[in-house]
Amino acid sequence: MSENSLAIRKFSDLANPTRFLALADRVLPWLAVVTALFFVVGLWLSFTTEGDYQQGETVRIMYVHVPAAWLSMMCYSVMALAALGTLVWRHPLADVSSRAAAPIGACFTFLALVTGSLWGKPMWGAWWVWDARLTSVFVLFLMYLGLMALNRAMDDPARSSRVSAVLVLVGFVNIPIIKFSVEWWNTLHQPASVLRLDGPTIDPEFLRPLVVMAIAFTLLFFTLHIAAMRNEIWRRRVTSLRRLAARSAGREV
């Protein structure tokens, strides 16, 4: 029991904002460099591998589309974890993390939607179809935007953190729906071919660039997320300093 609480204290020491800032300062440059390297390799691979005999050149869209779609879901999962942290452990950094992730997640979801649309036009003949996968991802996009609007509308983070955490957790229902929509319903969208219980069904020729791009995108997400968290901490410092300035102004008159 005492070990457990010690571990929790250590964890929260690490997650103390000042320490987080110091850590972020040290980690960010390396993370950025590694991300860039992975992107260089990933892009090189994705343009040098052969096209698919069935889908032609458009298979290259997959190397952007699939990682972006993965990230749109992973980002929401990170937000849901952070929301849990806000509600259960009341950790101040958890709310910072959740807030910082929302715009990034919205961007990746947007990317997944747009590239999917660009892939769908030549394959299916339509920019958009209302099937379960696409619709649920669109709902995810709307949820990101809604959360961003909510975070903006309530300028006092102390009060808004709980409210938006509850909303994030409720919205998490959507993630399994997105993940399994291709299997539960008969849709136009092709089923998962990489993350399967019985091993990937995709040709290794396509798998290699895909995995490298996925790692690159994931690293990119963490880089941006840490940077955005740092911004959010600074933003809150500015806010609290301003309130302090307002309180102390005019006292000497």
Binding site: N16, P17, T18, L21, G51, Y53, Q54, Q55, G56, E57, T58, R60, I61, V64, H65, A68, P92, V96, P103, I104, C107, F110, L111, V114, T115, L118, W119, K121, P122, D156, P157, A158, L220, L224, A227, A228, R230, N231, I233, W234, R235, R236, R237, V238, T239, S240, L241, R242, R243, L244, A245, S248
Partner: protein, 58 residues
């Protein structure tokens, strides 16, 4: 089978634009916040020690 190079290029282009835009936004946001912090500190507002150890209150 057609090659559909335009669609591929468009999706890579939009992806690049979005990612670069996001990166620039994060960087610009960070710069702006740091500038505000510096201005506040220059105008003589100091964090109390309690807040210094726990940067975000309220």
């Amino acid at each position: 089978m057609m090659s559909h190079a335009a669609y591929v290029l468009a999706s890579y282009g939009i992806a690049t634009l979005t990612v670069v835009g996001l990166c620039l936004w994060v960087i610009a946001d960070g710069r702006a916040r740091q500038r505000e912090l510096r201005e506040l500190e220059a105008s003589g507002v100091r964090r109390r020690s309690a807040e210094a150890s726990n940067g975000e209150t309220r």
